[in-house]
């Protein structure tokens, strides 16, 4: 069989992951310092605690967690989540457990999107979501950002022009806290503005929240879901996806969404068809982890672990970067974003950097196809040692000085 002739239309047009191939070329290069990828530090995984909980859960609750679970997710986990987050008035029907947050984003898209429907997103934004929306055949429109988040003027203009030509805007996708790739956190006034705007224009918001608990300095801001729920009495407008990938470990594939009952039910209906249910053992383990009260202390430990690396990276950028380079100064998360002079193409810089034994992700990878900007790059600070950060940023700084000269 020549399957490539048999593939569905979407399957034929799907691109392979450029990042993957790109990053692969930097592997096994001796002395390479990599700020690419999005992996959390293994040192932050609560191995010992989880190991004991896994043992207990399978031994004592195996009859239950090794059996088929509900497509909506483990009720015990949902109860613990609502308690942990302090939503005592939400019902379990307004929540769905999924196999990671990308999985939740996929179901959300399946529920709402017909081919050609418009998805609005920040530009730049998380590549995994861009790829998922692409696979759902959505028409992606990236909206520029400033230091306070998505640019409301650009958003308003775009919505106007899209409506004028009769386009159906199905959703706005945003990462308000420590955004991937920018590290930008949406300000409180901007959050309110965005919610009010989306209520006015009836645009559902998909809030992706993998990083908000990773705050090392400054004051936490309420999520869009929280604001919509408490201040606007319109929690239906926002669906929030929360991932445990960065606060427990991505290998366990446990995430959840909160949102309108009607929408969450439809997403659950897709889950039944696509996955039947997420892994039931892992769901219950997270439930017991929360129930035992380990979460706040563990998140505190992670934040203390990551903070010095962020500080070090910001210090080294300050010391080593030429004046023409701008970078974000996040108070948490795992990424920093560099804006380079207009004439520098980070896709090309990546090749040169590889020869200088330092790597990153070129900024162009975080834009919808055809809307790329090339003079930017993303650095991850959570996977290298402090010494590697010092040496790696020195190498990158020298390279950028040479390029700027």
């Amino acid at each position: 069989m020549n399957y490539s002739n048999e593939f569905s239309r979407v399957s034929q047009s799907m691109k392979s992951s450029m990042i993957r191939e790109l990053v692969a070329t930097t592997k096994n290069v001796p002395d390479m310092i990599s700020f690419a990828g999005g992996f959390p530090a293994p040192a932050t995984f609560p191995k010992q605690m989880l190991s004991e909980i896994f043992e207990e859960v399978v031994k004592l609750e195996g009859y239950d967690v090794l059996q088929y679970g509900a497509s909506e997710g483990d009720a015990l986990l949902k109860q613990q989540l609502l308690k942990w987050e302090g939503y005592d008035k939400l019902s379990l029907d307004e929540m769905l457990i999924t196999n990671g947050a990308t999985n939740a984003i996929y179901y959300y898209g399946k529920a709402l999107l017909d081919p050609g429907d418009v998805v609005l997103c920040e530009a730049p934004t998380f590549l995994g979501s861009l790829v998922a929306f692409d696979a759902l055949e959505a028409e992606l429109h990236g909206i520029g950002m400033d230091e306070s988040g998505i640019d409301m003027n650009l958003l308003s203009d775009r919505v106007k022009s899209l409506k004028k030509i009769g386009k159906r805007i199905k959703l706005l996708y945003t990462i308000p806290d420590f955004q991937n790739p920018g590290g930008i956190t949406m300000s409180l006034p901007r959050r309110r503005e965005l919610i009010a705007f989306c209520i006015e224009h009836e645009i559902p918001i998909l809030e992706d929240n993998p990083y908000s608990r990773l705050r090392y300095t400054g004051k936490p801001l309420p999520t869009l879901f929280h604001l919509a729920h408490h201040d606007f009495q319109r929690s239906d407008i926002v669906t929030e996806a929360v991932s445990f990938s960065k606060i427990i470990g991505p290998g366990m594939r446990v995430a959840y969404v909160k949102g309108s009952k009607e929408l969450v039910e439809k997403m659950g209906s897709w889950q039944q068809k696509v996955n039947v249910t997420p892994d039931c053992v892992s769901q219950r383990v997270v439930a017991r982890f929360l129930e035992m009260g380990f979460m706040p202390g563990h998140i505190n430990t992670i934040c203390h672990h990551y903070h010095p690396y962020l500080r070090k990276m910001l210090e080294e950028l300050q010391i080593n970067m030429p004046e023409s380079v701008y970078w974000t100064k996040p108070e948490g998360g795992i990424f920093v974003w560099l804006e380079l002079p207009e004439h520098i193409n980070a896709d090309e810089l990546f090749i040169k950097a590889r020869d200088h034994k330092v790597s990153f992700i070129p900024g162009s990878k975080f834009y919808p196809t055809g809307q790329e900007r090339f003079n930017a790059l993303r650095l991850k600070f959570t996977y290298s040692s402090l010494e590697q950060i010092e040496i790696g940023i020195k190498r990158l700084g020298q390279l950028l000085k040479d390029e700027s000269a």
Copy 2:
């Protein structure tokens, strides 16, 4: 937001699970004996062994299994699977680990199916797959079966007539061993005929294999994949999905497919977008379970556990059913299928049976929409006690005698 107006076309047309609602009406009825559902018996879950392996794996390999895993699945698990199944010449690229077998079926469909493409399947067949193919907007054609499996004459006629009107036949879906819902096992000559036919007509085969290891009597038959691989040198024509749901526990969501590298890669590409990866902890635990050599003994234990229930059910059917009722005599699996006289509608019988405190799944649920047959029903024998089987079949027999009178 009124989300129901915003739902995508497919989402709007998706039916809710009728079986779920049906079965729900029999819950909490005191003294109800249920032969409905498809759950394995919790007594067969290897809780103690798994509990220890989970503990060890998370403690000793947590840095790895709590991290993001490969979209293609855990290489260690794949190696163990190829060893267990004895495919020493297959490469890891010809295998994909998925979040259960339904998930594999979904990716297979995403890789190949455009809306309106034809899927051929046995009639009756597994409801979960019917629902998944429906969600993929395939045009389902159910092909009748005899005691040896799918009817080749009916298949050949259907393929001819579909080709005549220019339809694109994208795949044939089959469950050769202890088929759900029929309990029928495809004979060896039929297997060869089917493969030869599909090679001739270039129709890819999706072989769903959740039950083949649950054989209590008789001789195991080679899978279609095995035959295609060894006897036809055409393993590319068959993709085999194997689930651990019935031999370890469905809560762990671990399944795998073997097939053409090209097709498996495309399925992996869908996995990246939909799930990123299956649960990495569970994957590794299954790998260690296999590596430690527990599987053959454990499967033996399950078979010894289930066999008396199958025997009991067949005995009780023999004693209690009126002559007008025919049933399958499977040598394994978890289901028996009853064919009733033409005038009996099992959808209606279900309501009456509920009043008599016995339940089953009406046969009509296992056919593509519009192709239903109503004078049949499915019984599961793996979830009731021997005493319940005796009483339940007596109740059902009496009811059918009353209906036939």
